[in-house]
Structure formats: structure tokens, C-alpha cells
Amino acid sequence: MTPPDPMALPAPAGLLVFLFGLTFVLHLGCLGLLVATLWAKAGAEWGRQSRYDPERLHRAGVMGFSMTITAGVAPLLFVQVLYGKYFYSSSITIGFPWLAIVAYLLVGFYALYLSRWRWDKADGPSASGKALLILAMLMVFAIGFTYSWNHLQSLAAKPWAHRPSHALAARRLLGYGGTALIVSGAWAAWFGQKWRHDGSAPAGTKWALAAGAVLVLLWALISDFTSNNWGQTGRRLQLTAGLLSVICFVLLWSKQRSSEPILPVVQWLSPAAALAGLLGLVFQRESFRLEMLAGDYNSVSQPVRMQWGPFLMFALALVIGLVTLGWMLMHVRRTPE
């Protein structure tokens, strides 16, 4: 008897796509935290006076970096299961620049860590601290660029023979960059509310939201979101994200002084903008992929061999994991600063 094909999908494509989207949003949310700490640190290094507690900012940056990596593992898992044929081929086609991500990650993290060390040594801004921060920023950008490159490279039946256009690459970066700025703005608004005695909006928050809104709106207007329903939903979500960010910007601008307490409405509107932006990005990404690969591959029509027992093991681990995280965070909240 011929054994069943081990290469069948281990779950319906819909479930895998859902988990991919969910974990990808989590990954980009953590990336937003990292970006927020990077520009807040830049404000501290180049600004006249930092209004952040450097230790808190350092912790947020280090955790943001680690969590971005950790959270990024899951979407990579699901992408490989769903689109492995394209993902591996595009990775091999890119080759060494793809492998270089490992070095970017190492250099980026340690540069971020050392920048804090320099801050302590110099008791404030220093040339080497600035250089280390720039290095960390460059590494984060290089990682984002390389991932986008791989994604674009994989959007073809034969990734090894595919050359993504510069215009397409530029539009992708516009979308990613804009969304990352909006998410980082939302994080900064929360930092301000939680970490600053006067509850004021940190300098740069409104500019991050404004710049993110401009990029995202531009992207939604000039990009091909495809004609299917998912793509159109993606465009609507992106437009919503852009508009909400503009509203946040106007509200913060109308306060004129960033030292005034942040408006509760901004504190809640900016995460809503971030969530809309992230969901829009995921929807657009997937609908575009479906359109590009149509005719060669359709995940929905793949053979499925559902592994119920192992899936339940994962679901149980997830529930226990979330409860454990909740318990730990509850104790963290109770801990006096």
C-alpha cells in the first residue's frame, strides 16, 4: 500500500492563512515597538533633553528587538507550509543577502545594547552612542528591506527567473514604512501616557503618525490592491489607518505643546489606526500573492491531511501559554517601580 503523501497540508489552508495573518500582525506590532524606541532614543541622543527614563527606553528597545524576532518565527513557519515552493526558491535566488539577515540581527541587537552602555558611560549623548544607534537603525532597515525583497521575489511561478520591478519594491517599502511609523506612533503615545509623570505626548509622536499617514495614504492610492474582495478590504483598512492617524496628528497639533497631557482620544485612536494599518497590510499582501500566483498554485485546492491531535496540543499550549503570560504580567503590574 502506498503511504499517504506527507507533503499534504497539515490543516485547511484557511486556518493556516488565519494563523499566518494573526502572528504576522503580532510580529509587526513588536517591530513597531522597536521602531518607536529607536526614534525615541534618537530624540534623546540628538535632542536637547530626553524626557524618557533611559532605563525604561532601553528595556523596551531590547525587549522589542527580541520580541520582533520571536514573534517573527511563527509567520515564517506558516508561510513555509503554505508557500514553501516559492519561499525556498526565492530565498536561494537571493542567496547571501538573504543569509546576511542573521548578521544584521546580531549587529543590530548588540549595537542597540551598546548604545545604552555608552549612554551610561558618557552620562548622556555621545558620538559613539549616536553611531551605535545609527548602526542599529540601519540594520533594522536592512532586515525589512531584505524580507520585502524575498516576498516580492517569491511572487512568481518561477522565483529564480523573476526580477521584481523597482517600482513595485518602492511601493512595498512605502506600505511597510508607513505602517511601521503609525504603529510606532501608537506605541509612543502609550509610552507617554504610562511612563511620563505629566502624561504628555513624547516629542515626535505626532510627526511619526503624520509621516506614517502620508506614506500609507500614498501607498493605498497608487498601489495595485487587486480587484478581489480581500484586496479591496485591505485598501479600505489602509485608508482608515491613514485617516485615523491624520486625526491623531491634528488633535496633537492643536494642543501645540507636546508637554501637555495626551488626549485620551489619541491614546485610543492611534492603536486603532495601527491595528487597521497592520490588518490592511496583511490583507493586501495575501490578496496580491493570490493574484500573482493564480494559475500556478492555489493553497485552497491543495490536498489536506488534518492533524487534529497535534493541532489540539498546539491549542492547549497556546491557552496555557497565554494564561501564564497573563499571570506574569499581572505580577509585573503589581510590582512597584
Binding site: A74, L99, Y113, P310, F314
Partner: protein, 441 residues
């Protein structure tokens, strides 16, 4: 044949995998050992009001963040990247078959990272009992993560019933997974114990007595090393017979590496018991580094053996080291290499290529995953003294001549092409230096 080939040049694919994998295994196992050792020592120190040990543990925890979390997580990603580039068929199989195990491991990893950061950043700020509990959560998550991945790694050597049922559980809970988990747990604890000895010596202003106290406390985690030998015997008892034969004399390199790994581990374990625990001796930085270095090399050696004894397979009796399944091999034998439309020949008309060119593509497709033309594990030094007839005969019965090599897949015409290519690597210098042997009647 479904993917392009990542050409690493003289470095060779196996060098890259070995470097990243060994670094990652050491760091990841240290993280697991840390997770078990530190909360246990912290609870003990709290019970005995041992302020010296508590102060040390806090310092030790910094290594978790700087060394284990970052380098461990990144090299873990690095392994994926490298395997995805070098052996996409393997990682694709492992992911599709075990996606829910990988996803479970991801949840554990998430809990591990968050609890680890809380454990480090909230030291002295939380109620001690809660702090220890968070340390225990970290340890459980780290060990659980190891257990999940261990099942998948052990599957590659002992897929057992999976070969018949293709069942997740048959694959994941295979016979090799239990002794392998025991071995990895012992190794993790030992690494944590050795790093305690290293870190304790990194603060020169600490008095000798303080250092001795800390090192003695940590040395208890080195004692399980004495179990390495029986655990290894269990591991090889459940391994496939050809793999075991390779270790016990079939391959000198494998035997030597395993012997080194086991002897070094056992000696360190015995030293920990007699020297550090029983006689309460101390070690200074140089000795601690030497012991840690030996342990790292021993871990690398055992990993090398684990990888090596699977050959010629990458998933035993299912997929060969070159990424071809047994079924695909049969197809290529019947239809020919180019009839299966390998990606490396995409856009080319084989009939228009020279035999040497076709042979080069066959070499790339069937041998390129392990061999470079020049450099590490290179093919040139192997064939440069052979005649074309020898190349043909040896290639045709490769798996019989060298048990760790996959069989050649292809028709006789494919073999002609490969021989044509390999013959271009022969060196004329050899013919001049080594005259033909005279055959006397």
C-alpha cells in the same frame, strides 16, 4: 530537484550548517540549563539566606540576555535560513509533517523569552517567591521547547512507524527521542554548571572563598555528565543498525568523535564530583574556560556524530542526503535526470548541451548539497587520480562502495554525462608523478 541550488563555493554547504548548528546547539542548551539551574539555586539561596549566591545569580542572569536570548534566538533563525537554502526539501518535509509541534514550540519560546526578561529585569523588585516561580516558568518553557524540537530532530534518524503510517505521533514520539532528550538535558545542565564556573571568575575583586562557594554550588549540575555513557548506549541501542555500525568502527572519524565526546563528558563529570563537590576545590578562570572549551568541543563532536550517522539519508530510509526521496530516485532511474524537469535546468534544452555541461548540472543536482568542486568536502581530490572507467564504475555502485553515500540516480546516459564532467577534474600531473603499475603475468 524542485529548487535551485545555493552555491557556496569552496566553503561547501556542510561547513556552513555545521558552524551555525553547533553554535546554536551550545547556546540553546545553555539557555535550557540556565532555566533549570538558576531558579533552583535561587530558591536554595533564599532558603539559606545566601547573599553571596544571590548576588552572583543576578550577575549570571545577565548572560542569559546578552548571550543566550540574542545569539540563541538569532542562530536559531540562522539554522532555518541555512537549511532552507541548502536543503529545502528537508525543512519543507519537517515543517509540513510537524507544523503543530513547531507551533507549540513557538508558544513555549514566547513564554520563555518573556519570562526570561521579567526574571532578569525584575530581580530584587518582585516578591522573592514570585520571582522564583517566574524562573521556574522560564525553565519549564525552555526545557519544553527543547523536548519538542528534540522529537523532530530524533525523527530524522529513527522515523520508525512513520515510514508506514505517516502519523505525526509515530514520527514525533519515535524511539530515539527519549534517549536523545536525556542526553540533551544532561548536556544542558552541564553547560549551565560550567558557565557558572566561568562567570564566577569574571569578577576579580570577589574573594577566593566566595568564588569557591559559587562554583561548588553550581558543580552539582555537572554530575549528570557521568550518565552520558549509559544514555549514549541507550541511544545507539534504538538507532538503526547501519548507523550504529558506522559509529562502532564503520567510520573512524565517527568513532573518534564519539569517543572524544563521551570520554571528555565523563571526565568532567567525575572531576565535578571528586574535585568540586566532595573535596570542595575551586577552579580559576583559565581552568573554567578550559573545561567549558572541552565541553563545547564535546558537544560539537556528538552533534557531528548525530548528523553523520544518518548518512546516506537525511530522513532515514525516506529521503537521501541530496534531498531525493526513494520514490523520486526510482522515477529518475526510469525516466532520466532531465525528464523530471529539475529547476537547475529550467529554460535549457538538454539535447543542445554538451555531455560535460549536462554532467555539470547532474553533479550540481545530485551531489551539490554536500560536495563542492574545490574546497571543503571537494570532489576534485577524490576523482583526480581516477581514470574515466574508475569514475564510471565507482559512481554506478557508489552506495555499495561507500555506505554513507546515496546511490547514483539516473539512466546510463546520465551516468555518461556525469563521468564526462568528472573526468574534466582529473589531473594530468598525477599521471606523470605516479606511473601505471606494471602488471606481471
Amino acid at each position: 530537484m524542485h529548487y535551485p541550488i545555493f552555491d557556496l563555493g569552496p566553503m561547501g554547504p556542510s561547513t556552513l550548517i555545521a558552524i551555525v548548528a553547533i553554535i546554536h546547539v551550545v547556546i540553546a542548551q545553555f539557555a535550557v540549563g540556565f532555566g533549570i539551574a538558576t531558579p533552583w539555586l535561587e530558591a536554595r539561596a533564599l532558603r539559606h539566606h545566601d547573599t553571596v549566591l544571590l548576588a552572583f545569580l543576578r550577575r549570571y542572569a545577565r548572560f542569559l540576555i546578552l548571550f543566550s536570548f540574542v545569539a540563541g534566538a538569532i542562530t536559531g533563525v540562522g539554522i532555518w535560513f541555512v537549511i532552507g537554502l541548502i536543503s529545502p526539501e528537508t525543512i519543507s518535509l519537517l515543517l509540513r509533517q510537524f507544523i503543530w509541534a513547531w507551533a507549540t514550540e513557538w508558544v513555549l519560546f514566547l513564554v520563555e523569552i518573556i519570562s526570561g526578561y521579567i526574571y532578569y529585569f525584575y530581580w530584587d523588585r518582585m516578591e522573592p517567591k514570585t520571582h522564583v516561580r517566574i524562573g521556574i516558568i522560564y525553565g519549564v518553557a525552555a526545557w519544553g521547547s527543547l523536548a519538542v524540537i528534540n522529537g523532530i530532530l530524533a525523527f530524522m534518524l529513527t522515523p520508525d512507524g512513520w515510514l508506514i503510517t505517516r502519523s505525526f505521533w509515530d514520527g514525533w514520539l519515535n524511539a530515539g527521542s527519549w534517549p536523545s532528550l536525556l542526553l540533551r538535558t544532561i548536556s544542558s545542565l552541564a553547560l549551565a554548571g560550567l558557565f557558572i564556573a566561568v562567570v564566577a571568575n569574571l569578577k576579580p575583586e570577589d574573594e577566593t572563598e566566595k568564588r569557591r562557594h559559587i562554583i561548588n554550588a553550581g558543580s552539582i549540575f555537572l554530575i549528570p555528565l557521568a550518565l552520558m555513557l549509559p544514555a549514549s548506549i541507550w541511544y545507539f541501542a534504538v538507532s538503526p543498525a547501519p548507523a550504529t555500525r558506522l559509529v562502532f568502527g564503520g567510520s573512524v572519524a565517527m568513532t573518534m568523535f564519539l569517543a572524544f565526546g563521551l570520554i571528555a563528558s565523563t571526565l568532567i563529570g567525575l572531576f565535578a564530583y571528586w574535585g568540586l563537590l566532595k573535596n570542595r576545590k575551586s577552579v580559576h578562570l583559565e581552568t573554567a574556560l578550559l573545561l567549558a572549551g572541552i565541553a563545547l568541543i564535546a558537544t560539537g563532536s556528538v552533534e557531528y556524530v548525530r548528523e553523520g550517522i544518518r548518512k546516506p539519508f537525511i530522513v532515514y530510509r525516506y529521503m537521501y542526503a541530496n534531498g531525493l526521496t526513494q520514490a523520486e530516485m526510482q522515477e529518475i532511474n526510469q525516466s532520466g535526470f532531465f525528464a523530471t524537469h529539475p529547476v537547475i535546468a529550467d529554460g535549457l534544452d538538454p539535447a543542445q548541451l554538451s555531455p560535460i555541461e549536462r554532467g555539470r548540472l547532474i553533479f550540481k543536482g545530485e551531489c551539490g548539497r554536500c560536495h563542492a568542486v574545490d574546497g571543503y568536502n571537494a570532489i576534485r581530490p577524490l576523482v583526480e587520480t581516477w581514470t574515466p572507467e574508475m569514475i564510471r564504475d565507482n559512481t554506478r555502485q557508489l552506495n555499495r562502495l561507500r555506505g554513507f553515500m546515496p546511490p547514483f540516480a539516473g539512466t546510463s546516459s546520465d551516468l555518461d554525462d556525469l563521468v564526462a564532467f568528472l573526468s574534466t577534474l582529473r589531473s594530468e600531473e598525477w599521471s606523470a608523478v605516479m606511473p601505471r603499475a606494471e602488471i606481471r603475468p
